[in-house]
Symmetry: C2
Subunit: 432 residues, 2 copies
């Protein structure tokens, strides 16, 4: 039996959807690494009674650990320390040593911003230094301290780890939280799980469902695997979690997927197509340049996202207007006139042009109709043309209709383009 945890994300702006939560996913990864099972994530507004209800729900669900994110700031809607203190049966007090440490952090900010009110700053500092009795103090990172708060003596229930909302601050305080005695006591006896991930390109979810049904007949102990399938950015992900004793069943499943879906299975070690393309470029000491229209910069953005991308990413041209395709990528305007801006020949010319302009070793081009306007009967919204090219002249092209709304078409086109470049770099065909 592994330790179980729940995560509470607080923030009216998160609940209302104005801010995307990045802390839940990040904490989920950290818990998985520690072998702690995550049972629930809950999100509530900055309201006392809703936060309290969620803490109560997780306690009733018998989690060993509750982690909160947010609500530690200086404004009156930041309630987490106060609500957690009451929930754990602990009084609040002003920690003067902590107040001095926060004041020392705030001092340089006072110099940077002009015309701040020093009394406002002092009030904020005192609020952030007011914490539950007996809590472990983490940090502070930014100006907010984190807290580890066990239930008061004589009480039952989960230990609460209280972390600030800004992701960078939360990341800095987490390792400190894990090191506290209260965290260790709450999560002892946790068992390790193995986590595996298969990624496939170019098959529908029903095919994997069928393969799992076949596996139930063929593979002993398959039901010891927790299998989750998910369509994501045009890829199919199959996540598998199991205790080490079920290793043979996992190996049986992997062999079955290879047998039935070998050409579609592009990753069985957790790597993404982004990471594989980066590795293929790095290992062959190649640089890449991209030419894009409908994806509008997202292809370049995704390729340049990893730290160290400058080793292989030369740059790109976003040729949204037709004239830009001619002026910056040397696409023959006659070609555009004859075939249209969204056409396999224009995609090929864009790849050739960007390869030459950047003096790169590899190039990827994408042109398409992202919608919602601009579709025709021949070339509906979602019609996208790809071309990948290497300096030695080898190339790979593909055109198809991608389903979805404008953001989906842009996102899925980016993924598909990376797959086509991956196949060219591996010397494979474009048949996805």
């Amino acid at each position: 039996m592994s330790a179980r945890a729940g995560i509470v994300i607080t923030g009216t702006e998160v609940l209302a959807g104005r801010v995307r939560d990045r802390n839940g996913p990040w904490l989920a990864d950290r818990l998985a690494e520690l072998g702690i099972e995550l049972a629930h994530i809950t999100i509530c507004a900055d309201r006392r009674e809703d936060l309290e209800a969620q803490l109560r729900f997780l306690a009733d669900e018998r989690v060993d650990l509750t982690i909160t994110s947010g609500g530690l700031g200086p404004t009156a809607d930041d309630l987490t320390a106060e609500v957690v203190a009451r929930f754990q049966g602990r009084a609040l007090y002003l920690d003067e040593e902590l107040e001095r440490r926060i004041a020392a952090i705030v001092e340089p900010l006072l110099k940077r911003w002009r015309g701040l009110d020093p009394e406002a700053i002092r009030t904020s500092t005192r609020k952030q230094a007011t914490i539950p009795e007996g809590a472990d103090v983490l940090g502070p990172a930014g100006t907010a301290p984190g807290l580890v708060v066990a239930p008061a003596n004589g009480r039952d229930g989960p230990t609460t780890v209280v972390l600030p909302g800004p992701p960078g601050e939360l990341h800095r305080l987490w390792p400190e939280a894990v090191e506290t005695a209260a965290f260790g006591a709450a999560t002892t006896g946790r068992s390790q799980f193995e986590h595996r991930m298969l990624r496939l390109m170019g098959i529908p979810e029903s095919e994997i469902a069928e393969t799992l049904r076949v596996g139930e007949e063929r593979i002993d102990g398959l039901d010891a695997l927790e299998v989750t399938t998910c369509l994501r950015r045009a890829e199919l992900e199959v996540a598998v979690r199991y205790e080490p004793s079920a290793q043979a069943a996992w190996e049986g499943l992997l062999a079955l997927v290879r047998e039935r879906h070998g050409p579609q299975l592009f990753s069985d070690d957790g790597t993404s197509v982004d990471g594989q393309v980066a590795a293929l470029l790095t290992d062959s000491s190649r640089t890449v340049a991209v030419a894009e229209s409908c994806t509008g910069g997202e292809m370049a953005g995704r390729m340049s996202a990893p730290a160290g991308a400058s080793a292989y990413f030369a740059g790109g041209v976003v040729a949204y207007a037709n004239e830009a395709k001619a002026r910056l990528l040397d696409v023959d305007p006659g070609l555009i006139e004859r075939h249209g801006a969204v056409s396999p020949p224009v995609a090929g010319a864009m790849a050739e042009g960007v390869l030459a302009r950047f003096g790169a070793d590899a190039a990827l081009a994408v042109t398409g109709v992202a919608g919602p306007g601009g579709g025709t009967e021949d070339k509906p919204v979602g019609y996208v043309c790809f071309a990948a090219r290497l300096a030695d002249g080898s190339e790979l092209a593909r055109d198809l209709v991608i389903p979805g709304e404008r953001p989906d078409v842009r996102d899925r086109s980016t993924t598909l383009g990376l797959h086509i470049l991956r196949r060219l770099l591996r010397g494979e065909s474009a048949d996805l």
Copy 2:
């Protein structure tokens, strides 16, 4: 007293953070439009007992409406219809009319994919057509029907709206759900709220906290406003919700914010800086081109994201490598040598170059150190230079150190760049 709702997002891939939930935020907006208060969002894996626990939690919290997303697919881990049926006290049955409709949808897919197993498809179809007795059927969109399931006769509790996980499908089924009698019955008597949003650039959160404290003394009925502040992408958002009777307090707060933070307040009508820049360009019939290095395509991606962006967005150059700045943007290599690639003069030259290359009316350039490597004492990680330029020669420049990790620096640089372009288009100074 308005109707209250809870949202349950199911999916091991969402709980584990491998897929980002887009349905919670979207549904939150729809509920707000209907004047239904959203109290909780909960996320669980594809496990019967956890999904049931969350439905129970929301019922105990006395919500009037529970909306679920996900778990309607063809695989065995798709459990929502079954769990909701049991929770509402309703038996499952195979709806043969629905089975025929899903089969008709699947037929063209059978032709598109090669070598699918027809028996696998039939099993999937039957699973998706097996629904709770007495439920309203929505759609289907994709192959999954949505459901509206009231508690069985003689039972209490919220009505459940069951929607598929893929956002496009969920969006299509939502209006149908709202039209059902069961939805209406669950949410009658809802009161309307006003929602306002102030956006400020260039002040810390503690300053708004102080302004709210001043407001408490000066403005009658300020406590009838629900105020939430949030730092987001380098901007400070102040969201205010109130019942119509508190209109005067809202107007008082708006006047106070204008008085104390006029130059920093860039939006009081819900518009984003992205939308304002798009409108400024459209209204002046200007086109824009962007030159970027550290943001790696994200600036172009954000400008081209709105539908209709082609009216003003000409394109961009992602000049990641130094040679690309010379080759594609005509930046004098001597300038790079003298000042470094990350410097105000190079940002200025990039803006000038991209303006000319694209023949655009406005240009924005950004060059910086996104990290984690590449920082120096003079130019640490986060040091970013911006230049905006119009065809008439007017320009605006700014350089500063942006805090955060690589993704934060990229994201915040993009936001800041948009603010600088906005100020130039409005004929203002760069003083943010």
